[in-house]
């Protein structure tokens, strides 16, 4: 019944505590006692347990992630690196851009709409926290088989949730991915990316300094959301086991977040904050301990001042609550009244809950009683670090090469092509993307289904940024080291295809259980590959997220490193689109095709995965990117060739503006023949269309960069004709677009 205060804890050192129920290991609990020199109070125990969880402390991944720092290429662009809420890069003209991907996988399985919605809400706050105006979002998603019953439950809800929250925030959705694979059944992946922009001088950090400065909590009231296991403590402390009911699902309030954004930006514009932190995972525990440990002194919080939605919350629960749409700012007392005025203007609740002290500890009191007295660093940063066992998984030894019937007669081409482009992974995704606002803010230069999303940053100078997210989980399954590299290279290629120059990287690493040595091997190889490729490409990793325990029973998901690359384009008016704009253009394939079908969609349709991922040719990819950037002015259209191979790329290119094409692939020039020519997913290839008058210029540049350039056809007509076999665009369109409506309406 009584509050478990620091004094009580000191006086009763042997009180039993439910550390195990809270997910702590015996040695972790012992460490806490050692740090404090006594047993923790129940509030302290709550804080440590959640901050030392896998999700918040990165205890299994830390030892690997540090490669991103160690191998980091020299980059002048990096203004804020890993460690803050999101990294910040310089894009020139005084602008800084921040972007990051996060996962919200498990909540989205439990309650698809709200899980996805709050996932968007969380990443947007991370971006806002840096001082930036959020300007766009993307949503890389993974689902179980498209026709599985549970996918029909999960997918529409997740799409509606991403749209419901993002649309209401006024953030254009400019891209993402939708991929189906058996391993995501029971464990869909909802990753969300947000990008924001600010002036250099407006960058904000999560830090609390200046004795006497105030800690202000603003935004939504605190409810019992997401406190999970911590209710154990509440029932312990408040005895009699009748803890009030706590929500099992968090409900997002996008309207509250929208006004929070406007309110925060107005506060930033008047330079009213010293430090700021959003409340995400671990709520106030995280915000107070991180702010304090990044600051100069200590912090004193009066927890009873936190405005509550549910008055029955115990102090432990208030500390743990993950209620959405809240922020915590450090401000000078002299600026309080101005701060409050802005909050009032936007109808945002704001409350002073404490102050920065000249001590070294984080002190939290509840109605005058001291319930937390900890060195904040020990909570925020000195969590356990594990070197989990790693073992190359056995499945790698029993992989079999892909064996496919070769296609050569035109009838078979047509049938195979229609089957491929109507398969859920390749089919048109407008059923999904039409539920997202891509226009709002009026700066969307490119959005789905283009190779990358692109937004204008400055209307006068036409400066813009492009973003692409990519993952090829099947390649990562076959070869996680190269899989990660290939994903990043694909992202870079997508960026360059639209005319932007790759600048920085974020990532979201979705994996199975870190306690499985095989998964841990996949993870460590992935990080090694990603760190290496970033060094080779000269791109800094600015931040990211790790999501472990994505598995159903003993079956882990495919290792899914989702890579996001940010690029800069000096003049967005020069961007290149994917659709053929007119008849009479010459169509070329840049790059060579080979006959490896491993991990391809075509093999997947035949129930096979194959035995080896492509070996990335980094030098060739760099030359290709450089060629794309220099020759871009001569392209009438350009489209990356990846999932679904040339067949899919051609389909998308002709359908975009309903301009057909006649294609002639010369079988004997392609290793693997026509089948490979159309369906292999060899990396490093781009489909371009060039006005005949510019062919010589493009050829000269392709020679300069030593990139193979194959003429494969000409645009025009109302059909896609491949080696004499004609598919009317209407038929092609039907096959490409019907799939989602049939599955999900």
């Amino acid at each position: 019944m009584a509050l478990d205060t620091v004094a009580t804890a000191a006086a009763n050192p042997t009180t039993e505590q439910p550390w195990r129920e809270l997910g702590l290991k015996e040695d972790e609990y012992a460490r806490i006692k050692e740090i404090l020199g006594r047993r923790p109070t129940s509030s302290e125990l709550a804080m440590y347990s959640v901050m030392w969880s896998e999700h918040c402390s990165y205890k299994s991944s830390k030892v690997h992630l540090k490669q991103f720092g160690e191998k980091a290429p020299k980059s002048d662009a990096l203004l804020v690196g890993i460690g803050e809420n999101a990294g910040v890069v310089d894009i020139g003209q005084g602008y800084a851009v921040t972007f990051k991907i996060e996962s919200h996988n498990h909540p989205s399985f439990v309650e698809p709409y709200q899980g996805a919605a709050t996932g968007v809400g969380g990443i947007v706050r991370d971006i806002l926290t840096m001082g930036a105006r959020p300007i766009a979002i993307m949503d890389p998603l993974r689902f179980g088989p498209a026709d599985a019953v549970d996918t029909r439950r999960v997918l529409p809800g997740i799409i509606a949730g991403v749209g419901g929250y993002g649309n209401c925030l006024g953030l254009p959705n400019i891209g993402g991915e939708i991929v189906f694979d058996e391993t995501y059944a029971g464990n869909p992946l909802v990753n969300a990316l947000c990008v924001g922009v600010m002036r250099h001088e407006d960058i904000k950090l999560a830090t609390a300094h200046g004795t006497g400065n105030l800690v202000v909590l603003f935004g939504a009231k605190t409810g019992g959301d997401g406190i999970g296991g911590v209710s154990v403590l509440a029932s312990e402390t408040f005895a009699s086991g009748k803890a009030a009911k706590r929500p099992s699902v968090q409900v997002g309030d996008p309207f509250a977040e929208k006004v929070l954004i406007e309110c925060s930006l107005e506060i930033f514009a008047e330079d009213l904050v010293i430090g700021i932190q959003d409340l995400g995972g671990a709520g106030l525990s995280c915000a107070t301990s991180e702010l304090a440990s990044a600051g100069s002194g200590g912090m004193a919080i009066q927890l009873e001042k936190v405005p509550l939605r549910d008055p029955s919350l115990s102090p432990e629960e208030i500390l743990m609550s993950e209620s959405q749409e809240r922020m915590c700012a450090i401000i000078e007392p002299s600026k309080l009244s101005r701060f409050m005025k802005i909050c009032k203007k936007w109808d945002v609740t704001a409350t002073v809950i404490g102050e920065v002290t000249d001590g070294e500890h984080l002190h939290i009191t509840f109605n005058g009683e001291l319930i937390v007295d900890v060195p904040p660093r020990t909570v925020a940063h000195d969590g356990p670090v594990y070197n989990r066992p790693i073992a190359k998984p056995a499945y790698l030894d029993s992989l079999k090469p892909v064996t496919l019937p070769a296609i050569s007669n035109p009838k078979e081409i047509k049938a195979a092509l229609l089957q491929l482009i109507s398969s859920p992974n390749i089919a048109d995704k407008s059923w999904v993307t039409d539920q997202y606002d891509r226009y709002v803010q009026g700066n969307s230069v490119l959005s789905q289904p283009e190779d990358s999303g692109m937004v204008r940053i400055d209307e006068q100078t036409h400066l813009g940024v492009a973003i692409s997210t990519d993952a090829n989980a099947r390649w990562s399954y076959l070869d996680p080291y190269n899989g990660a590299k290939l994903a990043l290279l694909e992202s870079c290629r997508n960026i360059a295809t639209t005319g932007a120059k790759p600048l920085a990287v974020t990532n979201c690493l979705n994996f199975g259980s870190p306690e499985d040595p095989g998964v841990m091997w996949q993870f460590s190889e992935t990080v090694r590959g990603l760190a290496d490729i970033c060094l080779e490409m000269g791109l800094p990793v600015t931040g990211g997220n790790v999501s472990f325990y994505n598995q159903t029973g003993a079956v882990a998901i495919l290792p899914t490193p989702v890579i996001g690359v940010l690029g800069v384009i000096q003049d967005v008016r020069t961007r290149t689109k994917m659709g053929l704009p007119a008849a009479g253009l010459e169509i070329f394939q840049l790059g060579n095709t080979d006959d490896n079908f491993s991990g391809s969609e075509y093999a997947h349709l035949h129930g096979q995965i194959g035995d080896h991922a492509p070996t990335p040719d980094i030098d060739a990819e760099i030359r290709l990117v450089n060629l794309l950037l220099e020759a871009q002015q001569f392209f009438q259209s350009a489209h990356d060739i990846s999932d679904g191979g040339l067949a899919a790329a051609l389909t998308e290119t002709v359908l975009k503006n309903s301009v057909g094409a006649t294609i002639e692939l010369i079988e004997q020039y392609i290793p693997g023949g026509l089948t490979a020519g159309l369906f292999a997913e060899t990396p490093g290839r781009v489909l371009i269309a060039v006005d005949p008058v510019n062919i010589e210029e493009v050829r000269a540049l392709s020679n300069k960069y030593n990139v193979p350039m194959h003429r494969i056809g000409k645009s025009g007509g109302s059909a896609l004709v491949i080696n004499g076999e004609s598919i009317e665009l209407t038929e092609l369109r039907r096959a490409h677009t019907e799939t989602f409506a049939k599955l999900f309406n």
Binding site: V110, E111, R246, S248, V251, D253
Partner: protein, 81 residues
Amino acid sequence: MATIIVEVMLKPEILDPQGQAVASALPRLGFTFAKSVRQGKRFEIIVDGEPTAAQLAEVENAAEKLLSNPVIETYVVRVEK
């Protein structure tokens, strides 16, 4: 012909942004009666003849499976008099 009503409300512990928006709009319009407002859904289901016990059990079942989301909502089934 009878009307069966299914009322679906968010569980009390679940955030109700819509109810909150109404609760804060009311006083701005000079209405001060509400201590709190929650917003839910109401389904009017027309059935043939007088509802039988078996039919009501079916409706309960449908309310559980389709009309409400048991993760965040509760429901009540009643027959309109």
